[in-house]
Symmetry: C2
Subunit: 101 residues, 2 copies
């Protein structure tokens, strides 16, 4: 299937894609996403790579561990959905920018 493909151009394309992907990863690191749960009792922030950078729990939740744990799970999963969504849109920008989509 790939017999008559021009591999030198493919190599060029892959190098360009790798450079662009690294650029996007650096950009993602600067981005910050936050999600709240329990009406703001828990707030979780992550960078664009999906690394958690801050967690804030309201003092009132320290009296109710079960609720705190449930609200933590909700806020973390919400912030990760934002990160994943952003990763997907950055990837599609990357490919459309290279005329591959």
């Amino acid at each position: 299937m790939f017999e008559n493909m021009d591999f030198s151009k493919m190599g060029e394309l892959l190098t360009k894609a790798q450079e662009k992907a690294n650029e996007l990863e650096q950009e993602a690191l600067k981005k910050e996403f936050s999600a709240k749960s329990g009406g703001g009792l828990v707030k979780v922030s992550a960078n664009g790579k999906g690394e958690i950078i801050d967690i804030n729990v309201d003092d009132s939740l320290l009296e109710d561990k079960e609720s705190m744990q449930i609200l933590l799970i909700a806020a973390i999963n919400d912030v990760f959905k934002m990160v994943e969504q952003n990763k997907k849109s950055m990837a599609s920008n990357l490919f459309s920018g290279m005329g591959m989509l």
Copy 2:
């Protein structure tokens, strides 16, 4: 560059890759990863898709919110590294299984 490529075979390959990817995603959902911090004072579990499924905080940490928040961040980021690692090895299995690597 792609002028003389056989697109019917490409379509077949992409369909096969999509089916395999869906299969792997289902498999990932069944997997569970856990990370601890603070010598086990905090334990965080996630499935293979990267969704947090459980958080457990030791009662002693409820007296020290700052430490709790720091240990939560550490455990969550550790479990996500495991999930990402697993995703990468599943992806490379997918591509090597299809003779594309």
